[in-house]
């Protein structure tokens, strides 16, 4: 990472700009995308910045091709990324599934807008929580991160790349129109001071390399194409050699390893933030731009001596259920409130996890406007 190409220091940046710049810090050298509001600035920034660091930017013919090219570049050894919003995220799902089964590291950014369908391109919503988890067909592992501001978007993007590389899987970075477009202070770190993980390459000679042998962590090593390892990659179920199999036992083994490699890494992947949680009687579970409203609400209520705390999801999937169960079981926790700009997608999860230990209530807004701190305060007062 050469100096002049990375200008560290204090900046005013938008969330989309921070995601783009963070990708470069993380080592991303390939981006394929298709213009779509409100994610377009990520492509615009990278179209200029990637060549400056020796990387490549491709505007593809559609969202499907963007996802495909992103996976292809990763198979050729590059850290790669694509970015989109609602309708484009729907189109990418087929190849996101391919990335899951073929275990191809990459980062897929979805700057959420209102939907379904064209919905409202210029307004925020948080309706893609479940699509991020279940959008592609079949059971598959998934890692989904969701920052709540510009600085957080920068660091979560880097974390997304690191997790993708460590676990050989696509990682989805959810943001929303508010996070993507809002500008706030961003302190860009000095290049070289950021902790970066690179995929493990095989140490075995090509003749003894199995591209889908899990090893101790269930994560296979990954050789790039074109460096002497002539292996096969397919979206069909395959055995450790990478070649297709119809054997039920081999299919079962592959599926279980795929799911296990993420579930066993729960502690490494699942992160959250707690604010005033030690004695909280009411807990607001929030994420993304809504967490900003929740944070403001909690601070105002604490100023009035209300025992309210914030539990902010940084990792949405795998869902932080162990942490939430522990909190829900605390004697002083009476209630959890889940404000979200959708019809209760995370509420369902919180109910599933914490519902038997404390009250769980939702607060939903579907008009593409942010939930305000006042609305949250009102919801707590009413209940």
């Amino acid at each position: 990472m050469s100096g002049p190409k990375f200008k560290s220091g204090l900046r005013l940046m938008s969330g989309n700009e921070a995601v783009a710049e963070a990708a470069l810090y993380a080592g991303c050298r390939f981006f394929a995308g298709y213009p779509i509001t409100p994610s377009t600035e990520i492509a615009e920034v990278l179209s200029k910045r990637l060549p400056q660091v020796g990387g490549f930017f491709l505007q593809m013919e559609d969202e499907i091709a963007s996802m495909a090219a992103t996976l292809g570049a990763s198979l050729a050894g590059a850290k790669s990324m694509t970015a989109t919003s609602g309708p484009g995220f729907s189109l990418k799902q087929e190849n996101i599934g391919y990335g899951c089964i073929a275990e191809i590291p990459c980062v897929v950014v979805n700057v959420q807008r209102g939907g379904p369908s064209t919905g409202i391109p210029t307004g925020p919503m948080q309706g893609d929580i479940m699509q991020a988890r279940w959008g592609t067909h079949g059971d598959h592992p998934v890692i989904v991160l969701y920052p709540d501001g510009v600085e957080d978007a920068f660091w979560e993007t880097i974390r997304a790349f690191n997790l993708a590389e460590r676990y050989r899987t696509p990682v989805i970075l959810l943001t929303d129109e508010v996070i993507g477009h809002m500008r706030e202070r961003m302190f860009l770190p000095k290049p070289g001071t950021v902790s970066i993980y690179n995929r493990r390459k095989p140490r075995r000679i090509p003749e003894k390399y199995y591209p889908y042998q899990g090893g101790t962590q269930d994560v296979p090593t990954m050789a790039p194409y074109g460096e002497g390892y002539r292996f096969h990659v397919t979206g069909l179920f395959h055995d450790r050699t990478g070649f297709p199999t119809n054997e039920p036992a081999e299919i079962d083994a592959e599926m279980r390893r795929l799911l296990r490699k993420i579930s066993r890494a729960y502690n490494d992947i699942v992160k959250w933030e707690e604010l005033f949680m030690d004695d909280a009687e009411e807990v607001i579970v929030a994420f993304g731009c809504t967490a900003r409203s929740a944070r403001a609400a909690v601070k105002r209520l604490r100023a009035r001596d209300r025992k309210v705390g914030l539990f902010r999801l940084k990792t949405v999937w795998p869902f932080p259920e162990r942490a939430l169960i522990k909190i829900a079981k605390r004697a002083h926790v009476k209630k959890m409130l889940v404000p979200e700009m959708n019809n209760g997608q995370v509420l369902f999860e919180v109910e599933r996890v914490a519902g038997r230990y404390c009250d769980v209530e939702g607060l939903q807004r579907l008009d593409s406007e942010m939930i305000t701190p006042r609305q949250i305060i009102r919801a707590l007062r009413e209940n």
């Binding site: 050298r29 060549p51 020796g54 091709a65 194409y225 002539r230 990659v233």
Partner: protein, 272 residues
């Protein structure tokens, strides 16, 4: 001396899934002879495919191989080629894969003129899935989803590829194997995006619904109906209209996409 195909095969992956009488094997063998003739190192060759019978080919070949999703082989291959410009990237695709579900990728890859080769295994039908109508099924032909006859005119690959900007465009058949090997060789050697359409036979899914049950019958059809493109204008107009032209339709050069990408990076890195 007989050509040693095994040196390029993953013999442990055989037998293949293709039906008796299928043209894929003829194209596969021509491809391997072309690669051999060009003296390309196995490590420097990348075979990419989508979904369908023809797309199973890379699994049998001892190169870098990638079997992607339906219609998407070209954009996967594009990502690889941009990152690893030294690789010879060849995409094998069926007719449905290339110009139905993959049609948008096909025309845009032509437009970009990226240095890759697409070989279209055109058997005029969805073979693996059991004989559904495809964009190259002739008008009036029968398919499992066209029991009353196909109502649409078929795509002309040669016009489509040229119109979209491919810089090497050729057609051969599984009957004209010498020509086939020659145009594949030239396509791989060509700097830019090259498209080779191979007219071939699917007795199982196409022939049996269209009164051409046997592969020999289908071969004979190619023999009787195809004419080299340069010989076409020597025929009387009425006769020429009935013939299928084969040979090289277009061979030209213009700026290549990967080169341009790398030049942009060089220029941008040099600037402060």
């Amino acid at each position: 001396m007989a050509f040693d195909y095994d040196q390029y095969l993953r013999v442990d992956r055989l037998p293949h899934i293709w039906c008796p009488g299928c043209g894929h094997g003829i194209i596969f063998k021509a491809l391997l002879r072309s690669i051999h003739g060009l003296e390309i190192d196995k490590n420097d060759l990348m075979l990419v495919s989508g979904i369908g019978c023809a797309s199973r080919l890379p699994g049998y070949a001892d190169f870098n191989t990638l079997h992607t999703t339906h219609g998407r082989a070209l954009p996967f291959a594009t990502g690889i080629k941009v990152m690893k410009a030294n690789l010879h990237v060849i995409v094998t695709s069926g007719d449905g894969d290339a110009v139905a579900i993959g049609g948008n990728h096909f025309i845009h890859t032509c437009r970009r003129n990226i240095d890759m080769t697409l070989i279209v295994f055109n058997n005029s039908i969805y073979g693996m899935n059991g004989g559904q109508v495809s964009p190259t099924t002739p008008y009036g032909s029968f398919a499992s989803t066209a029991p009353w006859g196909n109502l649409s005119v078929h795509f002309d690959f040669m016009k489509l590829a040229q119109g979209a900007g491919a810089t090497f465009v050729a057609r051969a058949t599984t009957y004209h194997v010498k020509l086939l090997e020659k145009v594949i060789t030239q396509a791989i050697a060509h700097k830019g995006f090259s498209v080779v359409e191979v007219l071939e036979d699917c007795p199982t899914a196409y022939g049996r619904r269209n009164k051409m049950r046997g592969p020999v019958q289908m071969m004979k059809f190619w023999k009787d109906n195809c004419v080299m493109i340069d010989a076409l204008d020597k025929l009387p107009l009425e006769e020429a209209k009935e013939k299928i032209p084969i040979g090289i339709f277009c061979q030209t050069t213009r700026q290549e996409f990967t080169d341009e990408q790398h030049q942009v990076a060089q220029r941008a890195m040099g600037e402060e």
